[in-house]
């Protein structure tokens, strides 16, 4: 009974350290100076997996969708379509009988608005997570004002020529006040004190934690993907900012009574970026070659049920995350092609 109660209180937060960072700018020796918070504060509390491979398509939407389903999805990265296989949110809600308010996604750009729910007939409609697109929310909140922030929605670093139109389960502006308990004015005023979209995502995530305390919260960071513009220094700034935001999120977990002592957090990039030396790419700028640097990355797990200070070098795959969450929370990710990571159990 006590175990069941503890399991129901258990919270999971997944953060994708995105979009796409190479080992050499993060946890490899020469990159560690870029992630001081994770190195000094988080890694001592963590189990760290040094060799996570992504064998799927290396586009941010499709790769993040694959992370949420535990199956390498093959959807068109630049289309606003749902994943083909059930997402972790659907397993979580259907198998554990959780309400809609218990699973949320905070995602960076328009392309991610269908990530909360698959089109799988045995799961799908009504069983997924609500998706908040903070920038879309900000643009909607600012519509009609003098400030023109339509530019916020032109945010697809991978393909500047196209931004999918929103449809499906996007967050409605009316929910700003109903769910987040924020007035439009307060929200827009606060947003303007922030310097980046990922800071806005963290703000929304913290607000969600305070107001809804979801059991499963998925946050997709995206600032790092400015690397596509070719400015190495801004890519590095993105990594440093994401490092700081991950630490701030973990601090927020500790300060929130609903989360402190109940939460396991996972941080992982959706994939890496191309090597400097692969002739098919342009180094850090893109993730197009499918070389080792672009497919190999890492994962950090910390919090309840995690052995601190452990480093695991055995290869795992990014699709192993969802079945591992299933083993932790008590649902069966039946359609996932991954397998539970034994070191997390």
């Amino acid at each position: 009974m006590r175990a069941e109660s503890a399991r129901r209180k258990r919270k999971i937060i997944v953060v994708t350290f995105g979009g796409g960072a190479r080992d050499q700018e993060t946890f490899a020796p020469q990159g560690q100076e870029n992630i001081p918070n994770m190195m000094k504060e988080l890694i001592p509390q963590s189990s760290f997996f040094t060799h996570v491979t992504n064998q799927g398509i290396l586009g941010h939407y499709v790769a993040t969708a694959s992370l949420t389903t535990g199956t390498y999805e093959t959807l068109n990265n630049f289309s606003a379509v749902p994943p083909d296989h059930p997402t972790v949110f659907e397993y979580f809600r259907k198998d554990l009988h959780r309400p809609p308010t218990d699973a949320w996604v905070v995602a960076p750009s328009n392309g991610f608005n269908r990530i909360g729910e698959s089109n799988c007939s045995s799961y799908g409609q009504g069983l997924g997570a609500a998706v908040i697109l903070p920038k879309h929310l900000l643009a909607a909140a600012s519509s009609g004002s003098k400030a023109n922030i339509d530019h916020l929605l032109r945010d697809n670093y991978e393909n500047p020529l196209y931004t999918p139109q929103l449809s499906g389960n996007e967050f409605q502006l009316s929910q700003l006040e109903r769910v987040l308990r924020l007035s439009v004015d307060d929200f827009t005023a606060h947003a303007r004190t922030l310097s980046s979209p990922d800071e806005l995502s963290l703000y929304i995530a913290r607000r969600l934690m305070e107001q809804e305390a979801p059991g499963l919260l998925w946050i997709t960071m995206h600032d790092i993907d400015i690397a596509h513009s070719g400015a190495y220094s801004l890519y590095m700034d993105g990594i440093r900012r994401t490092d700081r935001l991950c630490y701030e999120l973990w601090q927020a977990v500790q300060q929130n009574p609903e989360y402190a002592g109940n939460t396991t957090m996972f941080i992982l990039p959706d994939f890496g970026r191309d090597s400097d030396y692969d002739s098919g790419g342009n180094g850090f700028q893109h993730h197009r070659t499918g070389d080792i640097a672009s497919r190999t990355t890492w994962m950090m797990a910390l919090g309840v049920g995690i052995r601190p200070g452990m480093i695991y070098d055995d290869p795992i795959q990014s699709v192993d995350l969802v079945p591992s969450l299933g083993a932790i929370l008590g649902f069966d990710a039946v359609q996932s092609s991954g397998k539970p990571i034994k070191e997390l159990l």
Binding site: H151, L161, S195, A231, Y232, Q285
Partner: protein, 428 residues
């Protein structure tokens, strides 16, 4: 599929195409070939030679060898189910790229295509169709970009050596302008030394500038008739009108059209001629810039990205004897415009721009290495090419050179005039 061929295709090539060569090529090989042929008028001499060499080579193969060359690709196409795809054989589209990338056989497919090109290149080397010549890649990180002396060259991983420089002679004009145009009228300039006697195409020498000082110096030099050579000149700031109008088209079109290929298609047809400065008005350069801006590599956003990607594409497409690139300063992204990099940040946010010398210097250091790595992908630059990357703020150059280059590591600062003489000797 019938296609309209440009009138000035070499007769041999016309004959090969007339004999049905294109229809014999694997489906996924056809978009590249069709696109190259349809854009023949805009290709650089090297590209024309390369397409001609490839097509004449495969056309010359007896059926058994032809089949053997393409068999791996055809087998992969079967496995990938290409025939069931909505795949354009006439041009390279975003949909094509997406279909290929989503296939589990994508990496093998890439390798199989590369193998065909490698076979053609090997044949060209064997038959002497490819001529070796000395080349120079000359890069400059200007004085106002602060480079850290201790870490300036670590990314080059010891492939060359550090040479202290005495830049005092070049102080007034800037180092690159001094090297390229600072010669007394009677003596041939470095640019002239790079000119090949058998090839007077502007594509043989490129000067790419993230600012505009270097391009203005080049134009002044041309106007003063000091130089008979006419290099290709690309200046990020001089292309402001082109870039901003193109960017504006990109941003205003997006809402109207249903998919990326439609946007792409329309941007390929926009008349850019009114936006080109005189030095970029030649059809091949105009279209080179359009392709650069469409490629999504930051060339419409940051001057240093424009320089790196422009240089990489020039190396890939034109294989110049001399490529010169100079980096510049960019502004810091304004708060919350990090997401709006495809817009003009000054329009999006009224706050005044703030320079980012440290960030610009870091960008330039990384991107200068990338230019050299881009060169190394091609046989032409692997043996007889000198690469010099100068960092004016620390008065040093990093030099990568083959053993036959006469300049050796010297702890004493090398005068810029001596460097120029060495480079002229090398190219001559």
């Amino acid at each position: 599929m019938e296609m309209n061929l440009p009138g000035d295709l070499p007769p041999q090539l016309q004959q090969a195409i007339g004999s049905g060569l294109l229809q014999r090529l694997p489906v996924t090989f056809q978009p590249f070939v069709h696109q190259q042929l349809s854009e023949w008028d805009f290709l650089f001499p090297n590209e024309r030679r390369s397409v001609q060499r490839l097509l004449l080579y495969v056309n010359s193969l007896p059926p058994t060898q032809f089949n053997a060359l393409f068999a791996p690709l055809l087998q992969l196409e079967d496995k990938m189910g290409v025939r069931t795809w909505q795949f354009s054989t006439t041009e390279q589209t975003i949909l094509n790229a997406s279909l290929l990338a989503r296939s589990p056989y994508y990496q093998q497919w890439r390798q199989a295509v590369q193998n065909v090109f490698d076979a053609s290149d090997a044949y060209a080397l064997k038959t002497g169709a490819s001529v070796a010549r000395r080349r120079l890649v000359l890069l400059n990180i200007p004085a106002y970009l602060p480079v850290d002396k201790a870490t300036a060259w670590t990314r080059w991983q010891g492939i060359g050596f550090v040479q202290p420089l005495d830049l005092s002679a070049a102080h007034a004009s800037g180092t690159l302008a001094f090297l390229l145009f600072g010669e007394k009228a009677a003596s041939p300039s470095l640019l002239q030394a790079a000119q090949q006697p058998d090839d007077h195409s502007p594509a043989q020498a490129w000067i790419i500038d993230a600012g505009d000082n270097l391009i203005r110096a080049a134009l002044q030099d041309q106007a003063a008739a000091h130089s008979t050579s006419t290099p290709t000149l690309l200046g990020y700031k001089r292309l402001d009108t082109y870039r901003q109008n193109f960017s504006n088209e990109m941003n205003t079109m997006r809402r109207d059209l249903v998919d990326a290929d439609s946007v792409y298609d329309r941007l390929r047809k926009v008349d850019v001629r009114p936006w080109c400065p005189p030095e970029a008005s030649a059809p091949s350069i105009r279209e080179f810039l359009r392709a650069l801006y469409l490629s999504g590599n930051g060339a419409v956003i940051f001057g240093n990205s424009f320089v790196e990607w422009g240089a990489s594409e020039a190396l890939r497409r034109a294989r110049p004897s001399l490529l010169t690139a100079q980096f510049d300063l960019r502004s810091k992204p304004k708060p919350f415009t990090g997401v709006a990099v495809f817009d003009n940040p000054d329009k999006v946010n009224p706050l005044p721009s703030v320079d980012d010398p440290q960030g610009s210097a870091l960008d330039a250091q990384m991107l200068s290495l990338y230019i050299w790595l881009a060169a190394l992908r091609f046989t032409e630059y692997q043996h007889d090419t000198v690469c010099i990357c100068m960092a004016e703020s620390i008065a040093e150059a990093y030099i990568v050179a083959p053993p036959q280059f006469s300049l050796q590591r010297n702890p004493r600062p090398l005068s810029i005039d001596t460097l120029r003489q060495q480079l002229k000797t090398w190219l001559a």
